[in-house]
């Protein structure tokens, strides 16, 4: 069955992980949804996330998180990569901002979309 989709192969959105126009991580806290600003380093297919220590202190190892890196304002410029996964601790990262806690997101699901690629495709459901 055919449907309309915005989804693209995440590889095609990899430039977002290089430029990191806007990035945040969401997780579930005691008082509901939490979201923290992050910086992202995509290295050797690993999603390394730099978080302010205040935000990282709320996370526990293996906790489920969602990383969103998105770009664009106008409708057909909207693009994003969405990584659902689990938070893992990471050792020191040299050469990066020392005022961040660096963690790794081990992905369980990665989705990317690009409104300029809207098209008919086989139904993904």
């Amino acid at each position: 069955m055919k449907g309309i989709t915005l989804n693209i192969d995440p590889v095609e959105a990899r430039d977002l992980l290089e430029r990191v126009p806007r990035a945040c991580v969401a997780f579930t806290g005691d008082e509901g949804p939490q979201v923290e600003l992050v910086t992202v380093l995509f290295k050797d297919d690993r999603y390394l996330i730099g978080m302010p220590s205040s935000g990282a202190s709320h996370l526990t190892v293996d906790e489920e998180v969602v990383l969103l890196v998105d770009d664009g304002v106008n409708f057909f410029d909207l693009r994003a990569i969405y990584v659902r996964g689990h938070f893992q601790e990471l050792g020191q990262v040299e050469g990066l901002a020392g005022d961040f806690v660096w963690v790794e997101v081990q992905p369980t699901r990665i989705v990317a979309w690009d409104y300029a690629r809207i098209r008919e495709a086989d139904d993904e459901s």
Binding site: G3, I4, L6, L17, E18, R19, V20, R22, C24, V25, A26, F27, T28, E31, G32, P33, Q34, V35, L37, V38, T39, V40, L41, F42, K43, L48, G50, P52, E64, V65, V66, L68, D70, G72, V73, N74, F75, F76, D77, L78, A80, Y82, L90, G91, Q92, V93, E94, G95, L96, A97, F100, A116, I118, R119, E120
Partner: protein
Amino acid sequence: MMNPDDPAVVDILRRAMVARIATVSRNGRPHVNPLYFVCRNGKIYLGTVERTLAALNVTANPRVTILFNIESQPNDRRVLRIRGSATVRTDSKLCRWYVVRDLRKYIMTRSGVGNTLAHVRLLPAVRRFVSSGEKGKECVLEVRPETAEFLTAPKRVGNKENKAVS
């Protein structure tokens, strides 16, 4: 924490274009996605459709946290974080009002028209996407802000700047 009606908060809301809204599912799983929004009378209205994760999550758990920044000023690293409670509104009057405001804010502008004209060949697919109802009917997430605070976006760290992972 700041009051959501603080002038600095109102100013960011007036100039921001894309909201990143975090929600939690019935099972406690996190989600965040970017949505267009407009404001009225101290509330924030985000457009989506009924069967998106954002709408389903708000139905299950009204708590939301939203980030806003001024996209037109990339050197302004302030990011507004608002926490509040949301409801899914499906009444046609509000949805129609939202669509009109959304079109004025995002499409009926110089850059919006230019962007649309540059992708005019895609409009039939957009029309099909909107009218298909694959993800349910259009709805609006109505957010009542409770607290606001300013964060500072981290400086961008490209892979080229990376040195080593120990």
